[in-house]
């Protein structure tokens, strides 16, 4: 069928206002200024923000109530994501609350739920993701980090050896959830387990990866005979691939609020307004006027895709593969397109990239609009948007598979 019925739910308008008010209050002062400039945040700043959310119960708002959530409907989650993004809030670090948390409350033991979930809801620990490995990017299931089961005086455990990579903000990590190979002799998807590892365990080493924006966000994590208690295995041994797929679906369901795009467009309009050409602001340029109209067509389309995906998820209980793929594809492409357009504007200022200006407290002389460094940083780092979380090529393959299956 082509068109569902959907209706505007006015009862949620109040919630939207509440989130807005919260953002206005929390995103202000020095913190607000840093966010406006796109400066790098330090861990305490992330923590303060996440704690503030946790204080409202909003950090894990869409978790079931029994695990400390508020049991939000998808519409509420969407409003929350949309409004925080639009307000320029920091990234809602997903590793705990969106990723490992739902895996634990769905597949974990009672013991694990008690031990880990409250800390996630309250943002007491910093979680990291241990999925990708060198050589296992798009082909994740080929991962080779090995966990060998054994028993010693302290009980059952796994000895983990191997390497993870692209570990975002891993240098701040307390815990890491890993896909590890527990059976090398079966079909590659069948021998994978899902393990929770305390990063302070001896043998865990984190090494930074510098990225093209010249910042440090990513890391390699090395495991050298790391002893992990067997109780840290989530669910059944060798079922880790199923949990990983579950997590992926869960991630997708909440994906791609368009708030971020509204934020980008605000930034684009801002730099257009203060950039002149021939003495006149670029916001008067017919080319940029048409460009904005064009981008807004794409954003409206993305918003509709996102809404539709939410409706479909609601109705069917699982996201449509084609819809999810389309959303990931287009959101990442569009993000890059808007950032390219902003870069076109900044070209008028010579594309100076003052990475120092990304650090709080820097008070050197700025070249170009105050947002420049933040925008160029974003333009560089978001080249990864079409690579991570299933590259555009992988998305197209998934969509095609679904299309040919009929």
């Amino acid at each position: 069928m082509f068109f569902n019925s959907s209706a505007h739910n006015p009862s949620l308008d109040e919630f939207r206002e509440e989130v807005r008010a919260f953002c206005r209050k929390e995103i202000s002062g020095d913190f607000g200024r840093k966010l406006e400039l796109g400066q790098h945040l330090e861990k305490p700043e992330y923590d303060a923000w996440l704690k503030a959310l946790a204080g409202r119960g909003w950090l894990a708002g869409n978790w079931p109530k029994e695990y400390g959530g508020l049991g939000w409907e998808p519409e509420q989650s969407a409003i929350f994501n949309d409004e925080t993004a639009r307000a320029g809030a920091p990234w809602l670090i997903p590793f705990g609350v969106t990723m490992v948390g739902p895996v634990i409350y769905t597949f974990g033991s009672e013991e694990q739920k008690k031990r880990f979930l409250p800390d996630i809801v309250a943002n007491n620990l910093w979680w990291c993701q241990g999925y990708s490995e060198p050589g296992s990017g798009s082909d994740l299931a080929s991962l080779r980090t090995a966990a060998v089961k054994g028993t010693d005086a302290d009980g059952e455990h796994y000895i983990v050896n191997g390497q993870k990579t692209w570990t975002t903000l891993g240098h701040w990590g307390d815990w890491i959830f890993c896909l590890v190979r527990t059976d090398p002799d079966v079909k590659k998807q069948k021998g994978i387990s899902f393990l929770l590892i305390d990063m302070k365990t001896p043998g865990v080493t984190v090494r930074k990866i510098n990225t093209i924006d010249m910042g440090h966000h990513l890391n390699e994590v090395f495991f050298d005979n790391v002893r992990v208690p067997a109780e840290n295995l989530v669910g059944e041994e060798n079922k880790g691939w199923d949990y990983a797929k579950f997590l992926l679906g869960h991630e997708r369901a909440g994906a791609a609020g368009v708030g971020k795009f509204t934020r980008y467009m605000d930034q684009l309009r801002a730099v257009l307004a203060i950039t002149n050409e021939g003495g006149k602001p670029l916001s008067e340029s017919p080319y940029f006027r048409r460009r904005i109209a064009d981008l807004e067509v794409s954003i409206a389309t993305l918003a509709a895709l996102s809404e539709d995906q939410r409706t479909a998820f609601h109705a069917a209980g699982s996201p449509s593969l084609i819809g999810a793929g389309a959303l990931k594809l287009r959101a990442s492409e569009l993000q890059q397109e808007i950032l390219q357009t902003m870069t076109e504007v900044l070209g008028r200022h010579g594309l100076a990239y003052q990475t120092d200006a990304l650090m709080a407290g820097w008070n050197g002389e700025l070249i170009g609009p105050k947002e420049s460094a933040g925008i160029l940083y974003e333009q560089l780092i978001r080249r990864a948007a079409t690579i991570y979380g299933g590259s555009s090529e992988i998305q197209r393959t998934i969509i095609a598979k679904s299309a040919f299956a009929g």
Binding site: F3, D266, S283, R289, A293, D294, D308, A403
Partner: protein, 387 residues
């Protein structure tokens, strides 16, 4: 506004698709379009639509209609486009019945019942030789005369105008500076000259010249001389969205038949469907279909809920749909290879239907220009994502 539930829409969609699947498709469409018959479409089908209540889908209850919104009509047009129905549905239902419903006097509204019963086909003639897509350029003149009007001017080619029973014609009342009115013109009025031709997709239409065609007093829709430029703009916006729905059906079908084709043909000893490049092309076609579907849906909802920026939603839908149509039409043929160039394969007919849809009532670039003219360039002026 619309009282139709998701379930009711699903049922409607099922019955439309069932009917068209059983009664239509490329072969039938081509046979009708190329028949010696002056219509080039199916009178039998038209009467089926009436019998099934579909011509009254969006009409008032008083006219025997079911008071559906543009969304319900869109579901109908999408099914029609999917199976290449040749009848002038958008012209009669959205533009014709739409004008009468919005502007007609109670007396004029009586014609709606005839539309619902399938007895009245309506054409809509607004564009002129020098107007292009610009909707404010009207030079046809309706000179008030004793007992009515005398119509002079020339209207551009419009699909469906060749077989309409009445034509709704825009004209300035009095002189070149007069208000634009809409006139109900019976097709058998004297001093009208039709130039009938097929459009690129085979559907027929006509350009019409009026040389002192005399109309009665009751010909003026609404029976007053208010300027109708804004109403016409809204009607054509609704027509635009209806054409998007038609295109959506055609795109879904084009993607399906292309996928099937790739699944059956071989080259270099492998199924075409096994080539990664072709797989990804199909993925892009699918994504374009999805995008068109959701953005058209959003615009239909905006119209039916009476959203104040429904027009912008329609323009965006047209930009997105027209771009999708160009990609899917072109790639549909490309992926069929040489076979795609033959008249016997359905894909070419979808290509031509989509070419037509791209153009009707303003193409992507023209609509983008419209959007650009309305774009808020001030900071914090984002509009695309609503509240």
């Amino acid at each position: 506004m619309s009282a139709f539930s998701t379930e009711e829409r699903q049922l409607l969609d099922d019955s439309f698709n069932e009917y068209f699947r059983d009664n239509y498709g490329a072969t039938h469409a081509v046979a009708l379009a190329r028949s010696g018959d002056p219509d080039g479409f199916g009178r039998k089908e038209w009467s089926d639509y009436a019998d099934l209540g579909w011509l009254g889908l969006t009409l008032p209850e008083a006219a025997g209609g079911s008071e559906g919104g543009l969304t319900e009509a869109g579901i109908f047009f999408a099914a029609a486009g999917r199976y290449l129905a040749q009848e002038p549905l958008v012209q009669t239902l959205v533009l014709g019945a739409g004008s009468i419903t919005r502007l007609g006097t109670p007396e004029q509204q009586k014609q709606l019942k005839e539309i619902a019963e399938g007895k009245l086909l309506v054409g809509f003639l607004h564009a002129e030789l020098a107007s292009g897509y610009d909707r404010s350029h009207v030079t046809t003149i309706a000179q008030p005369i004793e007992g009515g009007f005398r119509l002079t001017g020339e209207k551009a080619f419009a699909v469906g105008a060749h077989s309409a029973d009445i034509l709704i014609v825009s004209a300035r009342i009095g002189d070149a500076a007069g208000p634009v009115g809409l006139f109900l013109v019976p097709a058998d009025t004297d001093n009208m000259q039709f130039t009938v031709a097929p459009a690129i997709d085979g559907r027929r239409g006509a350009a019409v010249r009026f040389e002192d065609a005399e109309l009665g007093k009751d010909a003026l829709l609404g029976n007053n001389t208010e300027d109708r430029t804004l109403e016409i703009d809204t009607l054509l916006d609704h027509g635009t969205l209806a054409v998007c729905a038609d295109a959506l059906g055609a795109m879904v079908a084009a993607t399906e038949i292309t996928t099937e084709y790739l699944n059956t043909r071989e080259q270099f000893g492998r199924k075409l469907a096994d080539f990664q490049v072709l797989q990804h092309r199909v993925a892009d076609m699918k994504v374009f279909c999805e995008e068109a579907r959701v953005v058209i849906h959003a615009a239909l909802t905006a119209v039916d809920e009476g959203a104040p920026d429904a027009n912008l939603a329609i323009w965006r839908a047209k930009v997105q749909t027209a771009r999708a149509a160009r990609f899917i039409g072109g790639q549909g043929i490309q992926l069929h290879g040489g076979m795609g160039m033959t008249d016997e394969m359905p894909i070419g007919h979808y290509y031509k239907r989509l070419t037509m849809c791209e153009a009707m009532f303003g193409d992507a670039e023209w609509h983008l220009d419209r959007l650009a003219s309305m774009t808020n360039m001030s900071v914090n002026g984002s509009a695309a994502t609503g509240s």
